[in-house]
């Protein structure tokens, strides 16, 4: 099973409106509610791929109750969230049915107390210690109160238990996390530039490797993904440009890479799966879901190219 950590979970609301006008009033036609936060999206995609997940992190307040109620209805996902006194944040994604990408509002997360952080650490250690965790995914932003070096610490503990780690975060939590040598990080080009100071993806990915990551999967938006590993460098893109809602596409890519890791697939196949899942998510009507048929069709069409370029000295 895969252990997916989301310290800043969210109750994700998707609103469909016929036409979006700024500074106007909108009657929402349809509301979809989902347990959210990157790690929960990853777990949902893993479940659809046939991998059982255990999710942990924090949930609190009535929004947290709502999230856990929705989570209880999902197959292949075990809820090991830790209670927090504050209320789980909401996110609101507004989909404009007349076209265009969605508009997103993310509430700030609740403050995590030192006792709550200790309770989480105990839960994490217990889950890692059960001997059944094949990989750990550490996903998303850190809520206020959680130490900025949290992901570095959680990475070291997983490695001490012999479990590989995929880290998907940004900014200082990513920078600190790299030092603990995660097996794979999945920043987008902007996040990668933010921590390495270079906007050229290949150079930036190599810089992230030098800072500690064994492998780097850099998502390049509609261009696909660049994968830099100790065994080689590959790039893959979807067969065509796909219009839709990009929310959750990065989380689907993480699920593709993770599932390929625990299945022992060769790197190019992991990359193709990540790119196809990501594109299938963009095409799905609801943020963070994907269409299995679109995924299957795309998987056969993704082209993976190996780069022969030597790593710069």
């Amino acid at each position: 099973m895969i252990l997916s950590v989301t310290l800043n979970t969210a109750l994700d609301l998707t609103y469909r409106v016929p036409r979006f006008h700024v500074h106007d009033s909108h009657q929402v036609r349809e509301v979809v509610q989902r347990p959210g936060g990157k790690g929960l999206n990853v777990a949902r995609v893993l479940a659809a791929l046939g991998h059982a997940s255990v999710v942990t992190g924090f949930a609190g307040g009535l929004t947290g109750s709502e999230l856990r109620e929705l989570l209880a209805g999902e197959r292949n996902i075990t809820d090991e969230l830790v209670p927090t006194a504050g209320s789980t944040r909401r996110t609101v994604g507004v989909v404009d049915e007349s076209g265009g990408s969605s508009t997103q509002f993310n509430e700030p997360g609740p403050h995590i107390s030192p006792d709550e952080w200790s309770a989480f650490q105990e839960r994490y250690a217990r889950l890692l210690g059960n001997g059944r965790v094949e990989a750990v995914a550490l996903c998303g932003s850190l809520p206020p109160g959680v130490p900025v070096g949290a992901y570095a610490q959680l990475t070291r503990e997983a490695h001490a238990a012999g479990v590989p780690v995929v880290l998907d975060t940004s900014g200082e939590p990513l920078r600190r996390g790299l030092a603990a040598r995660p097996d794979l990080v999945k920043p987008n080009a902007v996040e990668l530039a933010g921590i390495t100071g270079t906007t050229e993806p290949l150079r930036a990915a190599r810089a992230a490797q030098r800072r500690g990551a064994h492998s780097v999967a850099a998502s390049l938006g509609p261009e696909g993904m660049l994968l830099v590993t100790p065994d080689g460098t590959w790039q893959a893109g979807p067969p065509r440009s796909l219009a839709g809602n990009p929310t959750g596409a990065g989380d689907s890519a993480v699920a593709g890479l993770l599932s390929g890791m625990v299945e022992g697939l060769p790197w190019p196949e992991r990359l193709a799966r990540a790119v196809a899942l990501s594109a299938a998510t963009v095409r799905a009507p609801t943020a963070g879901e994907f269409d299995e048929q679109v995924h299957a069709d795309l998987l056969s069409q993704v082209t993976v190219e190996e780069s022969s370029e030597a790593a710069p000295g």
Copy 2:
């Protein structure tokens, strides 16, 4: 006490964002939650004016629990909401701190079953029968499942109990409600044009009177308010144009008119209070609240003019 009816209650969320960009992602700086729906806003303003209210209507689901929890913390408001199996809707108002008016998203309300509607009618009859209701406010849209003639029926029952009615709604529920001869309706110019077919406020207000309303208070946005009664016609405006958030300004006007009614104030004083409260609400940082000092200052500056124009034959 005043009985305030909100059949389509809402959990109102106000999000403050530094700058609003359509089709972009926003980190919300601050979230404010309030029990909402027009009648609950009216009750909150009445409470601030020293009038106790009883609020009824429907609440359900975890959002309904959240609404009732917040309501329990408000002084001078008694919760007589009736449970519904569906979840109370949310509204999200996004305030752009860089300027401009707010952007509003209103979820659809839950479906009300025939049994729930019967339970509401019983509650309403019981509250009206307690002999302490000085006025009834019927406010806002009707959720699906409630008969479109609901406000006409509730108006007749209040009148049978000797209690005056203020009706604040729009469209077909307003059109049907007029036939039951409410004591006062408070449409805005657009709503008034919608049911009377004329955009000139005085002509439209007189048309609404002919359709059944004893008196009509037509809100004219920043221009103030036109009040057409059997005793005369008055117009009043704020002393100056006020920038801010107009959400809830109409509900404050209803509270001003209602409080003036139960206090037995002359019409011009009721109108001045409605205009000052409405303007003070526009100036308040959170939708549906008002600044008492701004209200007191404005009240002394509102000019009320009586119109000598005879009613057209």
